[in-house]
């Protein structure tokens, strides 16, 4: 297609946007609302997912060793654990290291425990990493039966609950977003229908003098595309700014809890592209619906 023809189609598409005033406004608003909610939802969902995986990665089995065990017995226990097929790595954390970590992680409040250094109430322990997080239960159950094991702990319940929350919110969000997408589609299809009807005389003449069907369709297609694209501008700007703010406000705090939000870049760029894509998709689909239905060329 020649540049001049493309320019003409874009010009005609823009003219229709202006001419349809309120319908254009309604369509763009619908796309905007849809994409804003989609964006918020994506930010929450993807971050929850990331956090869940981080916690999942941290899932480890802590084996508290009986205080009565001597060094040789502890080595035996270690070998037994290492022979389990699901086990990836076993590391030893002495009670002194354990206390050190505890004091450090609690910051100022940890200083209260300094006095315990002489009379350490903690136990030595083995920390087991499994190949896949789902195996923690199996490993824990096994290790419980070994000698010199005082107690076995693992954090599976928390992770499972978190994944459950992610799953439920994903389902609720999807239903909501699909509903909104169809509303936006419907409004765009109607806007394009108005344009087609208001231009019926022009279309009739174009057909009579031998304009190709593609030539007749393009402006309506572009109008839909523009509705979707313009509708995605506000959500993209708001969500990028919002996520930047969220990240700078909360990430530092979350880091102390050993979890991290997704880094601002490239996340917001990916988010912007996804939203723009959805906007364009809604616009194009909406206009194609009307073109097929009302433009028998």
């Amino acid at each position: 297609m020649k540049a001049r023809t493309i320019a003409r189609h874009v010009r005609e598409g823009l003219k229709s946007l202006v001419r349809n005033g309120w319908m254009t406004f309604a369509s763009i608003s619908a796309v905007t609302v849809t994409l804003l909610l989609t964006g918020v939802f994506l930010i929450l969902l993807l971050n929850m997912n990331a956090i869940a995986s981080q916690i999942e990665d941290d899932v480890e089995v802590r084996v508290y060793i009986d205080r009565s065990a001597d060094e040789q017995q502890m080595d035996e226990l270690k070998q037994q654990i290492e022979q389990l097929p699901e086990v990836d790595a076993v590391s030893f954390v002495s009670k002194e290291e354990g206390l050190e970590n505890l004091i450090e992680s609690l910051g100022d409040e940890g200083k209260a425990f300094e006095s315990l250094r002489d009379e350490n109430p903690l136990q030595d322990m083995y920390v087991i990493k499994t190949d896949i997080p789902q195996d923690t239960v199996t490993v824990a159950k096994h290790v419980e039966t070994f000698d010199y094991v005082d107690e076995v702990r693992y954090g599976k319940g928390t992770v499972e609950r978190l994944f459950k929350v992610v799953e439920v919110s994903r389902n609720i969000g999807l239903v909501l977003i699909i509903g909104l997408i169809f509303t936006a589609l419907f409004l765009i299809a109607n806007t394009i229908k108005l344009t087609i009807l208001s231009r019926s005389k022009e279309i009739e003449i174009m057909k009579l003098v031998g304009a190709t069907n593609a030539f007749i369709r393009w402006p309506f297609f572009i109008e839909g595309l523009l509705l979707g694209l313009i509708g995605s501008i506000i959500p993209i700007v708001v969500l990028i700014a919002g996520y930047n703010f969220l990240y700078s406000e909360f990430n530092a705090k979350l880091t102390t809890m050993f979890i991290q939000l997704l880094p601002v870049y490239p996340f917001v760029i990916q988010l912007a592209l996804i939203l723009m894509f959805i906007g364009v998709f809604i616009g194009v689909w909406g206009s194609l619906t009307s073109i097929r239905k009302f433009l028998r060329v």
């Binding site: 020649k2 001049r4 023809t5 003409r8 005389k201 022009e202 009739e204 003449i205 174009m206 057909k207 009579l208 003098v209 031998g210 304009a211 190709t212 069907n213 030539f215 007749i216």
Partner: protein, 228 residues
């Protein structure tokens, strides 16, 4: 230029508009199509530029076989035919110049050619000095001249006119006929459906009369043959 063989047209609602027409029109000819309202004239005319498809029979226009013409190739046919209507079908928001240029823009003619062709054709219909005016500022006759200019601006081989003088007073109608004569003299084939007895009788051209969806009369130098 036009060849029809045993052409039939029945509309989906059961109306039998054309019932077995054979018709031939040579290049450069000028023919009137006459007959009472509802006789099938309009359907006959519409089948030439493939606004309607025949239910049966063969139609060839300007070497294009319409019976096997694919939907996407219809524009090729339309670019060889100029169509003029009783109600002009001008776009009110465009000037005279823009209305005529529109026909070339939408078939992606180059801007240089558009300007030259539009000015030439406005000269032919004697509206060069009104190029910047809008249709509503023109008389009925002038509007029809714009519509004719639009139909011939792409140098079609054939002009199809459906009652082009139907909305005009007799004097104005004669003015329009002069333009069609001029176009015909330049070699363009013309087929015109009309109710204008005075013009048909005075110009002594070929007349085809349609009644009940059939050609009942086809005379060289014919007459209108009905009470006006």
């Amino acid at each position: 230029m036009i060849l029809m063989e045993d052409v039939w047209k029945t509309y989906p609602n059961g109306v039998m508009a054309v019932n077995g027409i054979d018709f031939k029109l040579d290049k450069g000819d000028f023919v009137y199509v006459v007959g009472p309202s509802g006789a099938g004239k309009s359907t006959f005319i519409k089948m030439i530029y493939r606004e309607e498809k025949p239910t049966k029979g063969k139609i060839v226009v300007s070497d294009i076989d319409l019976t096997s013409l694919k939907e996407r190739d219809v524009p090729k046919l339309r670019r060889k035919i100029g169509v003029v209507f009783q109600d002009f079908k001008l776009l009110p928001k465009l000037t005279v110049y823009e209305n005529v240029a529109f026909a070339l823009e939408v078939i992606e003619e180059s801007p240089d050619n558009i300007k030259r062709k539009v000015m030439d054709v406005l000269e032919l219909v004697k509206l060069k000095n009104k190029a910047r005016m809008y249709p509503e500022e023109l008389s009925g006759g002038e509007q029809q001249r714009v519509s004719i200019a639009r139909s011939i601006v792409n140098n079609p081989e054939l002009v199809v006119a459906d009652e082009p003088t139907g909305n005009l007073d007799p004097d104005t109608a004669w003015g329009i006929m002069e333009i069609f004569e001029e176009i015909n003299n330049r070699g363009t084939t013309i087929i015109m459906a009309t109710h204008n007895k005075e013009i048909v009788d005075a110009t002594k051209r070929r007349v085809v009369a349609i009644e009940g969806g059939r050609i009942v009369r086809d005379e060289q130098q014919g007459e209108y043959g009905y009470e006006s």
